[in-house]
């Protein structure tokens, strides 16, 4: 049973590593932000699997922390950048 958990966590971590390509390629800030959503969801799945594997229920608190703060980034991007529309994303 433990082997299954380890394989699943490694698989999910490799998913995160694959997602890094999208951060590299972009092309826009929105694309990169989207990838952090992928990281957040996958990271939470890894935490859940590790919680079962280590039998450590406090890991669920780490997952909830990630969870409730994930929305902050997106709202931050949306509200903070809203005033600037003329700028092209590719320069940064």
């Amino acid at each position: 049973m433990d082997v299954v958990f380890i394989i699943v966590s490694i698989f999910l971590l490799l998913n995160i590593a694959l997602g890094l390509f999208r951060i590299w390629r972009g092309p826009t800030v929105a694309d990169r932000l989207l990838t952090t959503q992928l990281f957040g969801t996958t990271g939470m799945a890894v935490l859940l699997v590790l919680a079962g594997y280590l039998q450590e229920l406090t890991l669920l608190n780490v997952a909830i922390t990630f969870n409730v703060l994930a929305i902050l980034l997106v709202i931050g991007l949306f509200q903070v950048w809203k005033t600037r529309k003329e700028r092209s994303d590719d320069n940064i």
Partner: protein, 328 residues
């Protein structure tokens, strides 16, 4: 078998740390740093330090994320205004420029070498027998809490924690100094989007409740004042982003009182008990648990207010020069 997870995490963390420093574009760096925070939180979990993992998750995913996005916007405006179509020329010019700065590079290399040597030395000299863990564990019943990390932070080494709260306040003061204090004005951006409003309305109580839960659970498990403070600070940031800046809506002296409350109460309590013959930050044993909870709550509120104020100030400092330019 689980060494595979640890190895993968270690490679990921180091790779992401390097890449977030070396990435050619700022937006890549920012989001790679977010991924680095995630990898680091998972690594802390694997090391068994769940307290640190929660803090890392809260700070990397929430607070630093929005701060960096804000900084990114600022940089993007300067970049797009100054060097619009000259990216190629600019990059070759800056490459030439870097080559001329050999001395800083040398200094950086020497510093890095020294740092690595010191780290090696530190790893070499890991205290046998677990260091001070046994001492902390043996004094646990007298600390008033059940979780060793909280006992160390709020009781045995309360002085450190007090200074940490002070450091955050000092950071805020530095921002006040560079940005001026006239900052608590309402931003003109109001959340008109119905979905955005609803989501802010929904997540505000959730953040508050979960922060309170983490604060209370710190007595007996991973959690505590700093983690709760980031979650409560996120409420302030959400409200600020939604067009309800907390500090503009309350009287100024209330804001200042809230900011210094944690630091002040901590110190006051220390002095009061010191006058009764104890050392600084020593609690009377009978009330230790209750006092720690009160101190933690006040500290969490103060830190949350400080984080909100830091974000609110940084967010508005950038609006000002633009207004001046358009006025000119």
């Amino acid at each position: 078998m689980s060494i595979l997870i640890d190895g993968l995490l270690a490679i990921l963390a180091i790779y992401l740390a390097l890449q977030s420093l070396l990435a050619p574009r700022l937006s890549q760096s920012v989001f790679l740093f977010f991924a680095f925070g995630l990898a680091l939180a998972l690594a802390w979990v694997r090391l068994g330090a769940v307290d640190v993992a929660i803090t890392e998750a809260a700070i990397a995913a929430g607070f630093l994320g929005v701060l960096f996005l804000d900084a990114l916007r600022d940089f993007s405006s300067t970049i797009s205004e100054k060097h619009n179509n000259t990216e190629a020329i600019q990059s070759s010019a800056s490459r030439k420029k870097i080559k001329t700065f050999l001395l800083p590079r040398l200094a950086f290399g020497v510093g890095l070498g020294l740092f690595l040597l010191i780290s090696l030395e530190a790893i070499w000299q890991i205290p046998q027998g677990g260091g001070l863990t046994a001492a902390a564990e043996s004094m646990l019943p007298e600390s008033g809490v059940e979780h060793p990390v909280t006992a160390v932070l709020l009781n045995f080494r309360a002085y450190d924690t007090w200074l940490e709260i002070g450091v955050i306040l000092l950071g805020l003061l530095a921002i006040f100094v560079t940005g001026g204090i006239k900052i608590y004005t309402k931003p003109d951006v109001v959340a008109k989007d119905p979905l955005l409003r609803q989501v802010i309305l929904f997540f505000t109580p959730v953040l508050f409740l979960f922060g309170a839960f983490l604060l209370y659970i710190g007595k007996s498990g991973p959690g505590g004042a700093f983690q709760a403070a980031v979650l409560w600070g996120a409420i302030g940031i959400l409200l600020h982003l939604g067009g309800k800046p907390v500090f503009a809506m309350i009287p100024r002296w209330v804001g200042q009182l809230v900011l210094i409350m944690g630091l002040g109460f901590f110190l006051l309590m220390g002095f009061v008990f010191m006058s009764g013959g104890a050392t600084l930050f020593e609690y009377p044993k009978a009330y230790a648990g209750t006092l720690i909870l009160i101190v933690e709550t006040l500290a969490a509120i103060s830190i949350a207010a400080a984080l909100t104020a830091i974000y609110a100030n940084l967010n508005q400092m950038k609006e000002e020069p633009k207004e001046n330019e358009s006025a000119n």
